[in-house]
Symmetry: C2
Subunit: 155 residues, 2 copies
């Protein structure tokens, strides 16, 4: 974990930015919530717990910076807010998402399932792919089981 911070620090430096205390606090929150899909506001509140002086604008600026450096990906699931998702280290491509329309959960698929599809797209549409976004909307395994077994809170 420390090394993760260290490596992000390198990335910032090589783009001639500094890892200020505020930026570090923000990065740490992102690392501690790697599984989540936090909005800027979410990040702000979490950072504030440990570093109460931080301003929302700084969080926005930091997230923008990290997006630019491809440390995080800015995503949008259709509710009004942008969410920020830490890239797995060394991940060639952005992971996929499963959004449950029942419970709102968002799970991640790390495996790259698009290799074949991308080959087709590159060839047939002559499109040089740099990145992708793939999100499935549906019913997650948790809600699915609920449907079958117990209908406790069905209404």
């Amino acid at each position: 974990m420390e090394s993760r911070v260290e490596r992000i620090k390198q990335q910032l430096h090589s783009a001639s930015y500094k890892l200020t205390p505020q930026r570090e606090a923000t990065v740490r929150v992102l690392l501690e919530h790697e599984e989540d899909h936090l909005s800027a506001e979410d990040v702000y509140l979490l950072v504030k717990e440990k570093s109460p002086e931080i301003g929302l604008a700084t969080v926005y600026r930091t997230l923008e910076l990290l997006t630019e450096l491809k440390v995080v990906d800015k995503i949008n699931f259709g509710d009004g807010v942008s969410r920020y998702d830490l890239r797995k280290e060394g991940a060639a491509h952005f992971h996929h998402h499963l959004v449950c329309i029942e419970c709102g959960s968002v799970d991640e698929i790390q495996e790259d399932l698009l290799e074949d599809v991308e080959e087709i797209v590159e060839k047939q549409w002559k499109f040089k792919i740099k990145d992708h976004r793939l999100t499935f909307h549906g019913i997650c395994y948790r809600c699915h089981d609920d449907d079958d077994q117990n209908n406790d809170d069905a209404n």
Copy 2:
């Protein structure tokens, strides 16, 4: 085209909504710009050309309604605005998009390239897929050709 309007009218009726003149004007604009990815504001301005009395709020409400009825899909390419994309009639799944990071163009792929991927996701993640969003970011064939042949405006 007329029949398209007619069928959307049916859909509205069966959900007990009416096809008011404002709604019809909005639907017609969407039909006339099927290839585009219009924002609410875009739609508003286009509708206004023919029906100057219409209000922006009505356009928003109509687009929301059409989204709910799955006549259109609300999409978001990461710039700050929602865009509205008419579903192809009878399309089982939402089409895919190619967003060019050079020229900003957005092309559509109507073919469903995800059948195999979806089978894997449904089986391995026990996730019942209802819909998907797939967008590739990269260089479109137009900008690609530019790179190879003439570097007129390369800087």
